[in-house]
Assembly symmetry: C2
């Protein structure tokens, strides 16, 4: 025993996704009601025709949010909405929310009220019930743990590993704006730190700030699916950037893809600010993250339906696996997609 | 605006339960599937005959556990079991577990493996599936968030607010032992800190240490209920000490109680160590906490069944509200019960 050196692998060597895979390896589901475990936007529990969906998020001050520019009410709203988004990404309806909060005594009751006001506002808007929680002390900082429970009809739930060759790849809204909102806030924070007399220069960027500070989940798109009786073949929400998410779909579906750079929806204010920051807007869209838009695939036969969706862009198609996962650039070049999504262990 | 001073209420002024009540006040459940929200061991979601139960716990290093004497594997096991206990306390069966972990880079992948090994061992033993989670970075320390999902037949779920006058008050196992195990570990830690050459003196206290470091949830008692077709009238698990928990039952049921000091089950090793520490064993049982035994009430008509349960003690009865919540001491005196349960905000 004493001759063996205890092995120490740094968390950063694995990264978040590999770590979860590693820790969860070899887990076999035993209960007949456990339909889907680790590896999608939400776990799926079978209650006969109605499936229960469960997803959880842990948010850490200084890692996932910065209270210098994120008001507590916005933080609560965003934390809740981001969680709802995971249920919409399964084509389900979020219904019950459970919230765990650990805070240091640097926070007052009034501060927690603000945080809760944001959570409650989101619950109200999305028709979700706050049904439970745990509130406790932390030695330092604020930790938020949210678990959302939703439901979906058995024949309507959409996983990420079920994309088929030739399916159209679609995305709602526009991409990269939340990331540019973050860069803007960080720039103004740096300016403020250098000279507290300076007033922040955020004019004209309301949209980008709102995308970062008060994002919405695409309830409307899931409702459109129901109205049009359209069921995507695969779906995921974009939290880590388009590149990372389409790779999740392709790898888990054992497929490839072709994404067209000129089809990727980017808002004009994102382009303008990218110019300021000397960032390629496509890079912001591919790797920025926190868009909380829905990325999904539909069968070609549904083209006539999906092309009428105002807020949805068709950005490519699924290919066979051997064709690889590629971005077709504006100049017609094909370049392999690589995920540079956000990984808290490597930050 | 500027004349008003912003009000600041310290978290410690409210305490944990009052804070939760305060933050959750005025929440109305909107979804028909939300049967029970904040205020019991678990939230209850209606799926026709089968109810889904959800409970969550947030555990913070330095507040809820001390890694100097709590091995990571034990921590994982305990965190999971404590969560399962909340579902048993609703007379349900825990089935799916979701785990959020935030760790600083002081922890290695191997350390997380140990933690997960404990969680997985508990899941195996209690036949629970680990179905999801979130693993992320923390600036310092270890934060664990566990959410357990269970199920119960609609006619079998047991709440805490449904105790009736004259019901018998029952408790499984023995009380105060986990608390004395904690005091023992803290004493040995202090000795070790004073002189690292000292060997810990834990001999003869295996039971108390196991109660603190590797508690079990009372799955067996819930199974006995099913075997004997006995449904308690109210139930809660003992995490904060007998006094705090019986007060939860009485206040929410709008009743009083009479507990008999001489009926409270205390293990002989708890009594011995209490003697060492000059602590009244009844105080350890009433206020120690972390026993994870089930405290429940049954109708008098079920006396013949419950008296045959080897591991259950009848410790008193429910009274009308105006009679108050009292402990009848060994000397026959009646003394009002007060909750001095553990509150992380006042620690």
């Amino acid at each position: 025993m004493s001759e063996e050196k205890i092995k120490r692998t740094e968390l950063s060597e694995l990264g978040e996704f590999a770590l979860i895979d590693h820790l969860a390896s070899g887990i076999n589901l035993k209960n007949s009601s456990s339909k889907k475990g680790i590896g999608d936007d939400a776990a799926v529990i079978d209650n006969n025709d109605l499936l229960t969906l469960v997803s959880t998020d842990l948010l850490v001050e200084g890692i996932h949010f910065d209270l210098t520019y994120m008001p507590l009410k916005h933080l609560g709203y965003k934390a809740a909405v981001v969680n709802f988004s995971d249920i919409y990404a399964m084509n389900g309806i979020p219904q019950q929310l459970v919230v765990g909060i650990a805070v240091s005594n640097r926070f007052s009751v009034e501060a927690l009220e603000e945080l809760y006001a944001g959570i409650r506002l989101a619950c109200e808007k999305y028709h979700v019930d706050l049904v439970g929680g745990d509130t406790t002390t932390s030695p330092s900082g604020l930790f938020l743990s949210l678990t959302i429970i939703g439901s979906a009809q058995k024949n309507e739930v959409v996983y990420r590993n079920t994309a088929n060759e030739n399916d159209l790849i679609c995305v709602s809204g526009d991409l990269g704006s939340a990331y540019m909102g973050l860069l803007l806030l960080e720039r103004e924070k740096a300016v403020f730190n250098a000279n507290p007399e300076m007033q922040p220069d955020l004019d004209g960027y309301d949209y980008l700030l709102e995308r970062q500070l008060k994002p919405e989940a695409r309830k409307d798109i899931v409702e459109l699916f129901k109205t049009h009786k359209l069921i995507p073949t695969a779906m995921i929400d974009i939290s880590d950037g388009l590149a990372s998410e389409i790779l999740h779909i392709c790898v888990s579906s054992n497929k490839g893809c072709a994404l067209y750079e000129d089809k990727i929806p980017v808002d004009i204010s994102t382009v303008t600010l990218c110019d300021d920051f000397n960032i390629d807007p496509t890079t912001a869209a591919l790797n920025g993250g926190e868009d909380y838009e829905l990325l999904f695939t539909v069968s070609q036969k549904d083209y006539e339906i999906i092309k009428e969706f105002q807020e949805v862009s068709i950005i490519g198609h699924i290919t066979e696996k051997n064709a690889g996962t590629n971005l077709i650039t504006r100049s017609g070049q094909s370049a392999p997609l690589t995920a540079q999504g956000w990984d808290s262990f490597r930050k």
